[in-house]
């Protein structure tokens, strides 16, 4: 799954490619996305951030064929989502914000099987895939539970299992934790982290701290792609962050204000860095 990194522009070797992508919602004078170009290579982990109304959700809907671009070109594993949406959805699965909207079946296992039933997968294989993906999201024993009795984090993991069962190479995560409480958020993020080694991931979020391991981060604001950079570079540009209404989480914000590196993530790492510096007797300024 390691990407060859050759940068060749043959679409077949790219997970996603967008060229000059432009889209306006009917009746709106301002385009929701304007001439967006970027590439995602197999195995990469790409973050997408930006303010509400920046164009993030529009991008996701264009990628899985829910919307068609006004102009420009998209390919997902070599397919055009506008003309081959069903083919594209075998390669690219989207985990949406609100798990409630996706859960349809009376029992967890039926819900996980739902996407597969439409693909004509043989029964035996279907059973096997459902069991495997339920295990992969840590919901063994939940097969006969009713989805409405689950917590937010559990529901989102059921939705994730349903996606994984279709075995897409590309996972698109559209703010999958924004409606969950702290515990639910942690459980979902842990599962997603475990998937990164085997999947190509595009992760849309408001939480910059979820993207510190990303290969690159795209910043969308007002429908424009204003940055496509590594997390290290992005975090070191406070003006760019401010202009795009991006706010660092508390720990890196404290770190920066103390003259420490912004890539300290946890309270433990920050406390350790503060002690190390105090202990070494270094006095800044």
């Amino acid at each position: 799954m390691q990407n060859p990194g050759t940068g060749t522009r043959t679409d077949g070797s790219l997970a996603i490619s967008c060229e000059e992508l432009t889209f306006s919602y009917p009746g709106s004078k301002v385009p929701a996305l304007s001439k967006i170009s970027f590439e995602l290579r197999p195995g990469e982990y790409l973050g997408v951030v930006g303010p509400n109304g920046g164009g993030k959700s529009t991008l996701v809907r264009l990628l899985n064929g829910l919307l068609r671009p006004d102009s420009g070109r998209i390919r997902v594993s070599g397919h055009d989502p506008a003309t081959e949406p069903f083919e594209v959805r075998r390669h690219l699965g989207v985990l949406f914000q609100n798990p409630e909207n996706g859960l349809v079946a009376p029992f967890v296992e039926d819900d996980v099987a739902f996407g597969l039933e439409n693909l004509g997968v043989p029964r035996e294989e279907m059973r096997e895939r459902v069991a495997r993906t339920i295990r992969a999201v840590g919901l063994e024993g939940y097969e006969r539970r009713e989805p409405h009795t689950l917590s937010g984090g559990e529901k989102q993991r059921v939705a994730l299992a349903g996606l994984l069962a279709v075995e897409p190479e590309i996972l698109v995560l559209d703010e999958p934790t924004s409606m969950l409480d702290a515990a639910g958020r942690r459980e979902v993020l842990e599962r997603l982290e475990a998937l990164r080694a085997e999947k190509t991931v595009l992760h849309v979020t408001h939480h910059l701290e979820e993207l510190l391991d990303a290969d690159r981060i795209l910043v969308l604001n007002g429908g424009q792609l204003v940055a496509d950079e590594s997390p290290e570079l992005l975090l070191s540009e406070p003006n760019l962050l401010r202009e795009n209404r991006l706010i660092l989480p508390v720990v890196p914000r404290l770190a920066l204000a103390l003259g420490l590196p912004a890539n300290l993530r946890t309270p433990e790492e920050l406390a350790e860095a503060i002690l190390a510096r105090a202990g070494s007797g270094t006095r800044a300024r």
Partner: protein, 271 residues
């Protein structure tokens, strides 16, 4: 106004196989010009609790008191004017062709004269930094703008207490910070606020007191410092950092807000 809940229990579907005791004896109070942060995981009873604050739900056992008077004896319409409830994702209820008309809807139904209605609409839009949106269609606004307009609609009723259930859920961090600043403005204008939130960092910035619900009971309550330093597992990032440094540098104190914490950490840095 002072709103008090005394030993409130709430059981859904009592006497059926679906019976669930969502609240199991909750007591708390919100005083004038105070921000109460109400935190707790999904299923802890937060949403059930806030629905008792204006008697959308009636306690199975226990009482709700407004300035010491049993709220059940007050007129419902009067109670709901005084205690404004803003539900999660309130923008779903926007309906009028313009922002102005949407915000005017509820105060107009109070039977106020047009001049008073207009004044309230302007005042509450101003309070939420949304004056320039007055003539726009609520449907053409961004998520953060819609949220502010929806809150303005409840504020236009002139509540003495505003109950906000997850007001920042799904908003970008910059819009969240703006909403937190608005909560401070409301408090400064004498409106009490109950802020229900999962986001401990946000609660740390603005709450005067914090109440932690767990399994339908009050797990902890007090000042933010008392509650958060009592349980660093259930604490915002600022408190977790300071707690970790406390053993080696006791002079760090018990900072909670970002600016307090930064100042305390700078002192440690000096060695």
């Amino acid at each position: 106004m002072r709103l008090e809940l005394r030993d409130v229990h709430h059981t859904y579907a009592p006497g059926t196989p679906f019976e669930v005791e969502a609240l199991r004896g909750v007591s708390l109070a919100v005083g004038p010009g105070e921000v109460l942060g109400l935190v707790g995981g999904t299923g802890s009873g937060k949403s059930t609790l806030v629905r008792h604050m204006n008697l959308l739900l009636v306690p199975t056992i226990g009482e709700v008191l407004v300035d010491g008077v049993d709220a059940m004896t007050l007129k419902k319409s009067e109670l709901r004017r005084r205690v404004g409830l803003v539900f999660q994702f309130p923008e779903a209820a926007l309906f009028a062709p313009t922002v102005e008309e949407d915000v005017a809807f509820a105060p107009r139904r109070l039977g106020l004269d047009e001049g008073e209605v207009e004044e309230r609409v302007r005042g509450s839009l101003r309070m939420l930094g949304a004056e320039e949106l007055a003539a726009r269609s609520p449907f053409a606004l961004s998520g953060g703008e819609k949220r502010r307009v929806a809150i303005a609609g409840v504020l236009a009723m002139g509540p003495e207490i505003l109950v906000l259930d997850e007001p920042t859920a799904g908003l970008d961090p910059a819009t969240r910070e703006e909403l937190v600043a608005l909560i401070r403005n409301l408090r400064d204008a004498g409106v009490s606020v109950v802020l229900v939130s999962h986001d401990l960092d946000e609660v740390a910035e603005v709450a005067d007191r914090v109440c932690v619900l767990r399994d339908g009971t009050v797990h902890a309550s007090g000042t933010p410092a008392e509650v958060f330093y009592g349980d660093p597992e259930m604490a915002p990032a600022t408190v977790r950092v300071a707690s970790l440094l406390k053993a080696s540098t006791p002079e760090i104190g018990i900072p909670v807000r970002f600016d307090e914490t930064l100042a305390a950490l700078k002192a440690v840095r000096g060695g």
